[in-house]
C-alpha cells in the first residue's frame, strides 16, 4: 500500500459496527417485550445487531482488497459550510432572519477558494433581499426580520 492509500472499507465497516453496537446497547434499555407484545426496544436492538454484523462483514471483506486513494473533503469548505449554518441558527434566534441569512451566505461562500470577500458579500446581499421578499413577505415565514436579544 503506498502513501495516501487506505483500506476505506475497513473504516466504513468499523463505523457501521460501532453505530450498530451503540444502538443495540441503547435499545435493550427500552424493554424487549414478549413475542405477543413486542416492546419498544426489540427493533432498535435487533436492527443494531444486524448493522454491527454488516459492519463487520464490510470490514473483513476489505482485507482482501487493495487500498485506494481517498480524498477527504476540503477542510476550509467544510468548516465554512458548518460555521455558516451554525451562524444561521445562533443569529436567527437572537438577531432575526435578515442578518442570519446574510451571515449564512457570506460565511459559506467564503468556503470556496475562488470566492473573494467582495463577491461573497454581493451574493449574500442579493440572496438576502430575494429571500426576504420570497419567504418573509410572500410566504409569511413566522420569524422577525430583525430582532434584538430573545424574541
Amino acid at each position: 500500500m503506498s502513501r495516501g492509500e487506505v483500506r476505506i472499507d475497513l473504516y466504513g465497516g468499523a463505523l457501521c459496527a460501532l453505530l450498530g453496537c451503540v444502538a443495540a446497547y441503547i435499545g435493550t434499555r427500552y424493554g424487549l417485550g414478549t413475542p405477543a407484545d413486542i416492546g419498544p426496544g426489540l427493533f432498535p436492538t435487533s436492527i443494531g445487531i444486524l448493522l454491527a454484523l454488516a459492519g463487520v462483514a464490510i470490514a473483513t471483506h476489505s482485507a482482501r482488497e487493495r487500498g485506494e486513494a481517498v480524498e477527504p473533503p476540503d477542510l476550509r469548505g467544510a468548516l465554512c459550510i458548518a460555521a455558516g449554518m451554525i451562524a444561521f441558527g445562533v443569529i436567527g434566534s437572537y438577531g432575526g432572519l435578515a442578518p442570519a441569512s446574510f451571515a449564512l451566505i457570506l460565511i459559506s461562500a467564503l468556503g470556496d477558494r475562488d470566492n473573494t470577500l467582495v463577491r461573497a458579500a454581493l451574493l449574500a446581499v442579493a440572496l438576502t433581499v430575494i429571500g426576504v421578499v420570497v419567504f418573509w413577505w410572500a410566504l409569511k415565514l413566522q420569524m422577525p426580520l430583525f430582532a434584538w436579544g430573545w424574541s
Binding site: 463505523l15 427500552y30 405477543a36 419498544p40 454488516a54 449554518m85 451566505i105 459559506s108 419567504f135
Partner: protein
C-alpha cells in the same frame, strides 16, 4: 372496468386543468427541469427544498408540484449528460456513454430529440399502466393484513438496499442505519422515547425534510466544494438540430420499447433504484445489438433505451406508493412523507377518499410531460447556459434555501442543526464510499415495518408462523429470500457486468 377508469381519468383532467393546479404543476416541472440541469442537484434535494412550500398549499396542487419536480429533474439530468458529459445524476451516467459521443459528432440535438420522444412515450405507457393497474391493486390491497404489509415492505427494503447501486452489503448497512434513524422519537405503541438523547425537539423524531436535506444537499456540498469542477465547454443546440431523421427513429424504436418494459417492471417492484434500471436497460441493448462494439461511440439505442426506462419507472413508481402506501424508492418516500404531513395517507383507501387527488395527479402527469416537451424546445439554450453557473455561487444559494426551507417546516431552528448534523455525517459516509440514498428508504420504511410486525405478532399471539401461513406474505418472504440468494450467488458475474458498464 375500462369505462370506469376512463371516466375517472376524465374527472382527473378536470381537476388537473383548474388554472391554480395547472400553475403549480407547471411550476414544479419548470423547477424540476432547472434543478435537474444544474450540476450536483438532483430530484431529492429539489423536492426537499420545495417541500416546505407545500405545507401552506392544498394537497392536490402540492402533490402535482412535487411529482412535476420529480419527472422534471429526470428530464433535465439527461441534458447535462448528453451535452456536457456530466454524470452528476447517477441514473443518467449511462446516457453519457453514447450521448456525449453523439454531441461530439454534432448530433447532440438529435440525441436530445430522441430523449424527448423516448421519455414522452415511456411516461405515457407508465401512466396508462397506472390508470389500469391501480384499481386492480387497490381491490387486492384491501385483503392485506399486517403480516402481508410487513412482508411487502421487507421486500422493498431488501431490494432497495441490495439493488440501488454500489455493493449490496454497504446498501444493507445504510438501510439498517436509516431504520435506526426512523425509530427516533416517541414510540407509537407505548409512548416511550427512543433515541432522543435528551433533546425535547426530537420527541417527534428526526425531521424527514431535515434528514433528506442534510444527506442529499449539505453532505454533497461539503464533499464537492473546492474538489469537483463542473464547468465545461459550451455546446449550442438549435431547434432544427433536434429533429431526428427517419433512420434515427427506426433505430431507436425497439430500444425505446424495451427500455419502457424494463422501467415498468422495476417501477412496480418496490425498492429498486433508478440507477439500476437505466444500467440494466443499457446493458440489455448492448447485448441484443448486432453491433455491440459500436456502443460508446454514439449509438442512438444507448440513449433511447435508458432514458425510456428512467421515465417509465418514474411513473410506475407511483403505483405502489399511492395504492399500498409503500414507497418504491427514496424520492417516493419523500413525496409520501409530504402527503402524510398534509394529512393524506397513501394506501388502498386513497383512491376512494381522495379521488380528486389520485386522478388529478394521473392527469397532471400527462399535462406535465406535455409541458416538459413544450418547455424544452425553446429553453434548451437557456439550460445549456445554466450548466455553466459556477459552483461557488450555486452552493451558498442552495444552502440558504435549505436553511430557510427547513426552518419553515416546524418553525424551529433546531431543525437547522439537524440538517447540519446529517450533512456532516453524510459527508463522512460519502468519503468512506458508503451510499446515502438507502438511508432515506430505511428511514421511512423502518417505523412502518416495525408497526406492522408488532401488529401481526399481536394478532398471532406471538407466533412467527403467521408470515408463512398467509399466502400473500409467504410469497413475498420467499421473494426476499430468493433475492438475497441471487445476490450472494453469481457475485463475480454480476460485478463483471457492472464493471463492463462502468468502463
Amino acid at each position: 372496468m375500462i369505462g370506469q377508469a376512463l371516466a375517472d381519468l376524465w374527472s382527473g383532467f378536470s381537476v388537473a386543468l383548474v388554472p391554480h393546479n395547472l400553475m403549480w404543476s407547471f411550476f414544479g416541472v419548470l423547477v424540476g427541469n432547472l434543478v435537474g440541469v444544474l450540476p450536483g442537484l438532483g430530484a431529492l434535494s429539489a423536492i426537499a427544498m420545495l417541500m416546505p412550500l407545500t405545507f401552506v398549499m392544498h394537497p392536490v396542487p402540492a402533490t402535482m408540484m412535487l411529482a412535476g419536480i420529480f419527472y422534471g429533474t429526470i428530464y433535465g439530468g439527461a441534458i447535462g449528460a448528453i451535452l456536457l458529459n456530466l454524470p452528476c445524476h447517477p441514473p443518467h451516467a449511462v446516457t453519457c456513454i453514447d450521448g456525449y459521443p453523439m454531441t461530439k459528432q454534432g448530433r447532440g440535438g438529435v440525441a436530445l430529440g430522441i430523449t424527448m420522444i423516448a421519455s414522452f412515450f415511456a411516461a405515457s405507457i407508465g401512466i396508462i399502466l397506472m390508470i389500469f393497474f391501480s384499481p386492480v391493486l387497490v381491490a387486492l390491497a384491501f385483503k392485506f393484513g399486517p403480516a402481508d404489509l410487513f412482508a411487502i415492505m421487507l421486500l422493498g427494503l431488501v431490494a432497495g438496499s441490495t439493488m440501488s447501486g454500489g455493493t449490496p452489503l454497504k446498501g444493507v448497512a445504510m438501510t439498517l442505519f436509516g431504520m435506526l434513524c426512523g425509530f427516533s422519537g416517541t414510540d407509537v405503541s407505548t409512548g416511550s422515547m427512543r433515541f432522543t438523547f435528551g433533546f425535547p425537539d426530537l420527541a417527534d423524531g428526526v425531521g424527514l425534510v431535515a434528514i433528506s436535506m442534510g444527506l442529499f444537499g449539505v453532505a454533497d456540498f461539503i464533499v464537492n466544494v473546492n474538489r469537483a469542477s463542473f464547468v465545461a465547454g459550451g455546446a449550442t443546440v438549435r431547434l432544427r438540430d433536434m429533429r431526428p431523421t427517419r433512420k434515427d427513429l427506426k433505430e431507436s424504436f425497439m430500444p425505446m420499447l424495451r427500455g419502457t418494459a424494463i422501467g415498468s417492471l422495476f417501477g412496480a417492484m418496490p425498492g429498486t433504484g433508478p440507477t439500476v434500471t437505466t444500467f440494466i436497460a443499457y446493458a440489455l441493448e448492448k447485448r441484443l445489438s448486432k453491433t455491440p462494439e459500436r456502443f460508446g461511440q454514439g449509438m442512438i439505442a444507448g440513449v433511447a433505451s435508458p432514458e425510456a426506462s428512467a421515465h417509465a419507472k418514474t411513473q410506475v413508481d407511483f403505483i405502489p406508493t399511492m395504492c399500498l402506501g409503500i414507497p418504491g424508492d427514496a424520492v417516493m418516500a419523500l413525496i409520501m412523507g409530504a402527503l402524510i404531513i398534509q394529512g393524506v395517507s397513501p394506501g388502498p383507501q386513497l383512491i376512494t377518499t381522495h379521488p380528486d387527488l389520485f386522478w388529478g395527479l394521473v392527469a397532471s402527469f400527462w399535462i406535465g410531460n406535455v409541458l416538459l416537451v413544450i418547455l424544452n424546445v425553446p429553453l434548451i439554450s437557456v439550460w445549456v447556459r445554466l450548466l455553466q453557473v459556477p459552483y461557488r455561487y450555486l452552493y451558498p444559494s442552495a444552502l440558504f434555501f435549505i436553511a430557510v426551507g427547513v426552518l419553515s417546516t416546524h418553525n424551529s431552528l433546531f431543525q437547522v442543526y439537524e440538517v447540519l448534523a446529517f450533512g456532516l455525517f453524510g459527508a463522512l459516509l460519502l468519503t468512506l464510499r458508503l451510499p446515502v440514498t438507502p438511508i432515506l428508504l430505511g428511514f421511512v420504511l423502518g417505523p412502518m415495518v416495525e408497526e406492522n410486525f408488532r401488529r401481526a405478532m399481536q394478532l398471532s399471539h406471538g407466533d412467527l408462523a403467521i408470515f408463512l401461513t398467509r399466502p400473500i406474505s409467504a410469497t413475498f418472504v420467499v421473494a426476499c429470500l430468493a433475492l438475497i440468494i441471487f445476490q450472494l450467488w453469481p457475485k463475480r458475474k454480476f460485478q463483471a457486468f457492472n464493471e463492463g458498464v462502468d468502463a
